[in-house]
């Protein structure tokens, strides 16, 4: 990607800049702050997308083990707990950054919307962050220090914490998408009048389930992919079958529900954010009833689509408004300074939907074949499932890109522009410096985190000391050269 392209992605949303003029200091700072925020928040969301689902999966496994006493569930629990620990750590450290970045880079946003965003994020830290951080220690180190019921409670608390965290973040973000329950004070402060309208808005109740389901589906595919990988390697026979079947089975139920909620999300966008919807659909003119662009290259300068594959009217109205005759807004009836950068939401949305469709097919075909035990013999399906592990992450990320870039040029839709939200006096040099710093550190910890998760996956479930008869002689506890296998179940010597 050349400098021109980077320029386009980040500055175009501001709308009124000609790319030939030299960039002003404020614009350069804004550009760098946006890159930094986009980078740190995108990095962060990868890990909650994984750990929200994994935390629920751990509760499920521990519950199954408590109920049935089957050692396979305990081995799976210990195995996924090790992976959870690595991902959770990355999620925590990258989340702390965000709690402060609002103040450092977006001080005007922090000051003016602080009366709304501050309390929502305070509830997030109090009800979620503290809960999961405290009980995470019990999960990792407390197995032999607490009664089994307490350990199960600790699992529940971590899962509850991750879920509540997603809830408050979605309340906060939904308010930025569709601000309600407030009035603007004379000094530019946003003053909350009606918290019920902010927290219980209909937008929250379609967007929060959408995020939660995204996390569950992402984790389900990671679990199924791990199972498929082991089956392909002909190892961990009990665990791999359980993982592949449970993962695909959960996904087979949840992906259609997720698609339904995705559709409900579209309805709020149509109603409240016409500029975002027009960009997602690359719809340039008002249409009644509207057609639906499947694929195209949106040509922003000439306000038309090139190479378009279009479904005829009224399919656009049907998809966007559940109606055969509804009129849909085109970009040309919106002032260009209020346009989002069209191509990012347009393509991000299509990638997200594409991933969803592939996941639906895999989950349904896999679960159907699993019904009469034909799953393990279909190597093509095993390969496809194995290779599908990134799909959930890609769908989650592109979904966020659609929502967030589609909201531009507003940070609080219709009320506060991103350009007005930045810290007014920040020098480009300082932001460039911190961007380099965050970039370098994130690349380092991301690469290491992925490597360590890969190693844990390759190592596979370990025999638990509680059930020595299940020990696989080919996989002794102390594998040569490294002590990284010192299992989580072995910390009895802590006492």
């Amino acid at each position: 990607m050349g400098a021109r392209a980077i320029w386009w992605i980040w500055v175009e949303p501001i709308g009124f800049v000609e790319s030939t003029t030299p960039m002003s200091t404020e614009l350069l700072t804004l550009l760098l702050s946006r890159i930094q925020f986009g980078f740190t928040v995108s990095f962060h969301i990868i890990f909650p997308a994984f750990t929200i689902g994994l935390a629920a999966w751990l509760v499920f496994l521990e519950g199954l083990h408590l109920a049935t006493g089957r050692p396979v569930y305990r081995r799976l629990f210990d195995f996924w707990l090790r992976i959870f620990a690595v991902a959770f750590g990355l999620g925590v450290v990258s989340g702390i950054v965000l709690a402060f970045e609002f103040g450092t880079n977006w001080s005007e946003l922090a000051r003016r919307t602080g009366p709304i965003q501050g309390p929502l994020l305070a509830y997030e830290t109090f009800t979620a962050f503290a809960l999961e951080a405290s009980f995470f220690g019990v999960l990792i180190f407390g197995r032999n220090r607490v009664p089994r019921w307490f350990y199960f409670i600790a699992c529940l608390m971590v899962a509850l914490g991750t879920t509540l965290s997603a809830f408050w973040i979605m309340v906060n973000n939904s308010w930025m998408q569709v601000p309600s329950g407030i009035h603007l004070a004379a000094d530019g402060m946003f003053v909350p009048d009606n918290w019920r309208a902010i927290i219980l808005s209909a937008v929250v109740w379609v967007r929060f389930p959408h995020m939660l389901l995204a996390a569950y589906v992402t984790s389900a595919f990671c679990i199924a992919a791990t199972g498929a990988w082991y089956i392909l390697q002909n190892r961990e026979r009990t665990e791999s079958r359980a993982m592949m079947r449970m993962g695909l089975g959960i996904a087979a139920v949840l992906v259609p529900v997720q698609m339904f909620f995705g559709h409900l999300n579209g309805e709020y966008v149509v109603r409240h954010q016409p500029s975002k919807m027009a960009a997602i659909e690359a719809r340039w003119h008002d249409e009644k009833p509207a057609s639906e662009v499947l694929f195209a290259w949106p040509d922003v300068e000439n306000r038309r689509n090139r190479f378009a594959v279009t479904l005829p009217a009224p399919l656009g109205s049907l998809i966007d408004s559940d109606s055969l005759s509804a009129g849909e807004v085109g970009l040309e009836s919106i002032p260009p300074e209020n346009w989002p950068p069209v191509r990012i939401p347009f393509f991000a949305f299509r990638i997200m939907v594409g991933c969803g469709v592939v996941m639906l097919v895999l989950a349904w075909v896999g679960s159907w074949l699993a019904l009469d035990d034909r799953l393990e013999a279909r190597r093509w399906l095993l390969w496809a499932t194995f290779l599908s592990f990134p799909l959930g992450f890609i769908a989650t990320l592109t979904g966020w890109f659609t929502a967030e870039v589609g909201r531009q040029p507003w940070v609080v839709y219709g009320l506060l522009r991103t350009a007005q939200a930045a810290t007014p006096f920040l020098a480009p040099r300082d932001v460039a410096l911190t961007l380099l710093l965050f970039g370098g550190i994130y690349i380092l910890i991301f690469s290491a985190g992925i490597l360590y998760i890969y190693r844990l996956l390759r190592q596979g479930p370990l025999p638990t000391p509680i059930h020595p008869e299940r020990t696989n002689p080919k996989r002794p506890l102390a594998v040569g050269g490294s002590d990284s296998q010192a299992g989580i179940g072995l910390d009895s010597s802590l006492s």
């Binding site: 501050g118 220690g137 550190i441 985190g449 910390d491």
Partner: protein, 335 residues
């Protein structure tokens, strides 16, 4: 009620920051001492003493940050943007030390040193920067007429006094960390920690004297408080008692005394600063009432987070500490 909510939230902010300074203080301090550990066994032993609780400890920083934002949005925007570079540096440092707990166990023997450097370096830098910010706040930061930071420059916070405070907090956290190791570990780590405590204590005392002299010389606004509010002198008295506790604790090898004494020194220093800053939220330009969020925000967080969730959070913090009470042996396996 108009002044109750702002002062309630100022008190909660004070409590969160105090808990952060004490709790993350000891694990940051252990991180600083980690760099001086003799061998792998000692390093593991040190990590075992803090790894179940460090994450919960760090939460108090985030709680402090979001309470500041929720209850005093003007102050949050002002302080974080004025300290742009130090805050970002601190965040990077906290990232490196945070991932090290998990990563050094997953790394091979040959690459473990990367995360060890990250752990010690991150602990050191985060502590130093926190001290620098406190030092700069003590000197006061200027605010424009509209309540916003006018933006003199990215290095406005930098001063010899601020750097002195950074160094002082490093010594203080190391003292707290050594006290924690004495409390939680067994010999030989316990004995080594005992031996280093007198040196760290001397360092902290020298820092406090230097900071006091510097403050007198610079005629800082903080110092006027001592004349206006003579009751502030009770805090140095607590500090003296705390020093005596540490000295006797070390001489008689009473494992819980050094940590208690070090915590009391921190408590006294923290209370001194908090009492000197009152009624300011950003010293000495923005008062608690001026910085307060609208009443509808403050009451919303009061009835839920303030009187329900905060006590619950304190309760399960205590439960988790109870679960992990007692000594950690030298052969402890860190998973």
């Amino acid at each position: 009620m108009n002044t109750f909510f702002p002062y309630f939230w100022a008190a909660v902010l004070g409590l969160s920051l105090l808990l952060y300074v004490l709790l993350d203080g000891f694990d940051l301090g252990v991180g600083i001492l980690f760099g001086f550990a003799r061998d792998e066994a000692a390093r593991r032993h040190m990590l075992s003493a803090i790894s179940p609780v460090w994450d919960g400890n760090e939460t108090w920083l985030v709680i402090g940050g979001t309470v500041l934002w929720a209850a005093f949005p003007t102050a949050y925007a002002l302080i974080l943007s004025a300290f742009y570079l130090p805050i970002c540096l601190m965040l990077c440092a906290l990232i490196l030390r945070g991932v090290a707990f998990e990563f050094r166990q997953r790394a091979g023997v040959h690459t473990r040193f990367v995360w060890d450097i990250g752990f010690t370096g991150g602990s050191f830098i985060a502590t130093f920067v926190q001290g620098v910010v406190v030092g700069a706040l003590v000197r006061g930061i200027s605010v424009g007429a509209d309540g916003r930071f006018p933006g003199g420059g990215a290095l406005d916070w930098a001063s010899p006094f601020a750097f002195l405070c950074g160094a002082g907090l490093c010594l203080g956290n190391a003292l707290l960390g050594a006290g924690w190791l004495v409390l939680k570990s067994e010999d030989p780590l316990r004995e080594r920690s005992y031996r280093i405590i007198p040196w760290l204590l001397a360092g902290v005392l020298i820092f406090l004297i230097l900071a006091f002299l510097a403050a007198l010389r610079m005629d800082l606004s903080v110092m006027h408080r001592w004349i206006e509010r003579p009751w502030l002198e009770v805090f140095p008295l607590i500090g003296v008692l705390a020093v005596i506790t540490i000295v006797f604790g070390v001489r008689r090898r009473r494992d819980s005394w050094p940590f208690a004494g070090a915590a009391a020194i921190f408590l006294a220093a923290f209370a001194t600063l908090a009492a000197s800053f009152l009624p300011y939220m950003v010293p000495f330009s923005l008062t608690i009432l001026e910085a307060a969020a609208p009443m509808s925000s403050l009451s919303f967080i009061f009835w839920g987070a303030g009187i329900v969730v905060l006590p619950l959070t304190l309760m399960y913090t205590i439960i988790v500490y109870t679960v992990f009470k007692g000594k950690v042996g030298p052969s402890a396996e860190y998973p």
